[in-house]
């Protein structure tokens, strides 16, 4: 029994050293949380990609805005559209079988559109024109399942804002270009 008493001291030393090691935080590495950058706010924008010109088309030249007829009242409507010079040169036309401007634009009344039967379609109701070829899509859009809705699902509480076709689709070159994706998930370890 006497021999076991000698071993009290080692036990005390062990415990005291242990206590010190805890206070000095020697067990285990400090925690490191990966800091992730906040995402660019351009990825959170609700804007549609285009202005659908529902309030009528306007062209901007030399810092002023003009209605279509302010120029086109003085120009003779050509039989077939020629190469664009002087204005509207930025427009690239790549809309399938619509290979000339007058398939959609009225030859004389430039402030409105025209459908295949020659009926005038105001810019405000441009969807009526798109509908003439894109029937199923139009029906889906009318039902609310095509397009970019915002606002309310519950019509009794508020309205669902349904942008028109031209708000997203460029009528001259409707095919969507690929866009930049937001960052991938970062993972935490």
């Amino acid at each position: 029994m006497n021999s076991s008493k000698k071993y009290y001291w080692p036990i005390i030393i062990v415990f005291v050293l242990l206590a010190l090691s805890f206070v000095l935080d020697m067990w285990g590495k400090p925690i490191k949380i990966k800091q992730n950058p906040t995402v660019d706010s351009k990825f959170l924008s609700h804007d549609t990609v285009r202005d659908p010109l529902v309030h009528g088309a306007k062209i901007e030249q030399a810092g002023f805005k003009y209605n279509c007829n302010e120029c086109h009242a003085y120009l003779q409507p050509p039989e077939t559209p020629k190469k664009l010079i002087g204005a509207h040169q930025h427009i690239v036309l790549k809309h399938g079988i619509n290979d000339n401007c007058f398939k959609c634009h009225h030859r004389t009344k430039r402030e409105s559109l025209v459908d295949i039967y020659g009926t005038e379609v105001p810019f405000k109701q441009s969807a009526q024109l798109c509908q003439k070829c894109h029937g199923p899509k139009y029906r889906d859009w009318k039902a609310g399942v095509h397009g970019r809705p915002s606002g309310y699902w519950d019509k009794t509480k508020g309205e669902t804002i349904k942008p028109t076709c031209a708000a997203c689709h460029n009528p001259h070159a409707p095919k969507f270009q690929p866009i930049e994706p937001a960052p991938a998930p970062a993972g935490n370890h």
């Binding site: 067990w27 993972g187 935490n188």
Partner: protein, 410 residues
């Protein structure tokens, strides 16, 4: 009545006193275990402060070393029944002396398992939400609620049986059969149920095809019935060496016979699973492929599982061969099966269930240093409890610790 209470308190005080007295080796062992436990406690405090980010777990692999150890330890606790069945149902004489050792082992294992669950919780301070009637207990639908119930009752069952028998021995009174025999029989069924419920925890999840198999329950029981008795065989030899308790070799060899059968069944079930998964070769096989062969370049678990298979197979051969009738080979077989089944059932079952994730992503898992310290701390604590239980109960069993005559007469 008061006298009975006083006797009991004096019994407990003497038990406490005995836990603190022993040889040098005993002090060294207990100090070692205490140091490890305190390191684990310190690591856990850090986890409480910083959250489970201190572990290696992620949203993809959301259960790791803690649940792995929990599963393994529930199996060990269930294996105590492997001693109870021969002695109480078949009146086996060889194991009579060691039944109580097995049940004490079950108590330590269950405490460890419960601690592993507690350290795994994100909000352990909300533990009271689990208490029936006080919190909101989703029984009987949630398998985890079943687990909580059966594990705690199993702990109480074993504590009662051991406590009662030991105390009666201390009082030098014959134990009344009605006070312990029904509980012993209940504990036999209960031991199988705790591990089956733990298996159902995993097997009931349709979103995890690696676990969603009927063979999981039988595999759990079979592997538990090897690793548990293996551990008991090893600890019996320690008891034989460091105390005066006489344990005949026959007890060890009876356990060997039980382990032979259990290991054969366990390995057979494993081969079944292996065949079904690989022959079918469907998309559901992905987790198994990850575990055994690696998947898309990720193969962290492959060396582990093949080591485990090698260990288990070697242990199987050793158990079956007459060579293991010598203690040396039996010990080797036991060590191999304890480690092999720990790998297979712990890491080899929990982690592959999460890889690949239900969305096909592969994120591998390595336990963090802090996590390992907590696991080591809990194991050390379990050994501490087991040592204390043995240190106090062996003198009682040997008749060296008993009530003083004048106390008994009154």
């Amino acid at each position: 009545m008061a006298k009975a209470l006083l006797n009991y308190i004096s019994f407990l005080c003497r038990c406490v006193a005995i836990s603190f007295k022993g040889s040098t080796r005993f002090y060294a062992w207990m100090t070692f275990l205490t140091v490890l436990t305190l390191i684990g406690l310190n690591a856990y405090c850090k986890q409480l402060v910083h959250g489970l980010h201190m572990t290696g777990m992620t949203d993809q692999v959301s259960w790791g070393a803690y649940i792995a150890n929990f599963t393994y330890l529930v199996g060990m606790a269930a294996a105590a029944v492997m001693l109870v069945i021969p002695v109480y149902l078949y009146k086996n004489k060889e194991l009579e002396d060691v039944v109580i050792i097995g049940e004490l082992f079950a108590i330590a294992a269950i405490i460890m398992a419960l601690l592993f669950v507690v350290v795994d919780l994100g909000r352990p301070d909300r533990f009271w939400h689990l208490i029936p009637f006080i919190g909101k207990f989703n029984w009987p639908i949630s398998m985890l609620s079943w687990d909580v119930v059966v594990l705690n009752i199993y702990l109480l069952l074993n504590m009662h049986v051991c406590g009662y028998l030991l105390y009666m021995r201390y009082l030098r009174r014959k134990p009344t059969k009605a006070f312990y025999l029904p509980f012993v029989f209940i504990s036999i069924i209960w031991a199988v149920s705790i591990h089956t419920v733990t298996a159902f925890l995993f097997a009931g999840l349709g979103g995890r095809p690696f676990w969603n198999t009927a063979i999981l329950g039988p595999r759990f029981i079979a592997s538990a019935f090897v690793s548990g008795p293996a551990f008991i065989v090893l600890s019996l030899q320690f008891i034989r060496r460091f105390s005066d308790y006489k344990i005949a070799d026959q007890a060890l060899f009876t356990l060997r016979k039980l382990m032979q059968v259990a290991m054969l069944i366990s390995f057979f079930l494993f081969l079944n699973e292996f065949f079904v998964e690989l022959y079918t070769d469907s998309l559901h096989v992905a987790s198994m492929q990850y575990l055994f062969f690696g998947l898309h370049g990720h193969n962290a678990l492959v060396p582990w599982i093949w080591t485990a298979i090698a260990f288990n197979f070697t242990a199987l051969i050793l158990f079956v061969l007459p060579a293991s009738r010598s203690i040396k080979w039996l010990n080797l077989a036991c060590i191999l099966s304890v480690v092999g089944i720990w790998i297979e059932k712990g890491m080899g079952l929990i982690i592959p269930g999460f890889i690949p994730t239900p969305l096909g992503e592969i994120v591998e898992y390595t336990p963090s240093w802090n996590e390992i310290l907590i696991c080591v701390g809990i194991w050390a604590f379990g050994f501490l409890i087991y040592t204390i239980l043995l240190k106090t109960s062996i003198p009682v069993l040997l008749g060296k610790l008993h009530i003083k005559h004048k106390e008994a007469k009154k």
